[in-house]
Symmetry: C2
Subunit: 129 residues, 2 copies
Amino acid sequence: MNYSKQREKILDTLTCNAIHPTAEELLEILKTENSNIGLTTLYRNLNQLAQAGMIKKIDGLDPSAHFDHNTHEHYHFICKECKRVFDVPSEVAPDLVNNTRMATGFDIENHDIVFHGVCSECKKRKENN
Amino acid sequence: MNYSKQREKILDTLTCNAIHPTAEELLEILKTENSNIGLTTLYRNLNQLAQAGMIKKIDGLDPSAHFDHNTHEHYHFICKECKRVFDVPSEVAPDLVNNTRMATGFDIENHDIVFHGVCSECKKRKENN
DNA sequence: GGTAAACTGATAACAGTTATCATTTTAGGT
DNA sequence: ACCTAAAATGATAACTGTTATCAGTTTACC
């Protein structure tokens, strides 16, 4: 993998915008920063960075994939009201991989957990109405 | 929700083919059983059944969604070799929802876990080569 | 400085899914 | 049974997110 100006910018922008953006959302942010990166280039680099383990691709949230600069083990919660994506610490599922390896006998290389529900802010807002 | 011949057939076929098929796969199975159900009808009914809690929609496996007649709490493992989808019992993650509720303060309505790796059969096959 | 490999980005294609809508089926009341 | 309104069908067209193509540009290394 060679250096590229665009890839550096993409990684920077994702790191500074820890909101788990989709590719489209990231493109918008880049535009507002006067970085007109082509859509193909964006997708290509996001996939390359994910493959290299430098970012994480989150599937199963929307039709569209979200991207996360945080590569440490953690999970995700999506609020069905405001659609924001929140991090969930991996401690909520201790021994998950070991338990699953024992239960199934399979080699587990990675796993994702996605929670759906209502976040604190939206819960509060709904109660006040 | 009114009765419909097509919906009954779709639910039956999904129940008798517990392989977590995609919509396209299910359509193929239906065709071999001489049930020519329209693609739109299939998608509409799968979504309706999922909404009604009679089946489960599994996202985050492929680009395409898979469908599961088993609505009891359980998780999924997809083998990156043979692409088959296996069930994982929910006991591998005890107290997951409670822990997450405590850690985040959010209302959790549902959650999914997807494991990726290599299943026993494929592991064996690879070792013999 | 030259060259091979890697990268860009506009365009076109593609896959999975949903909207549209005229026709048919279902279910409940008279 | 019949009438009617609501629900369901399915062919077609549209839409969304993503990837392939490919000529031109940039990178890295001898």
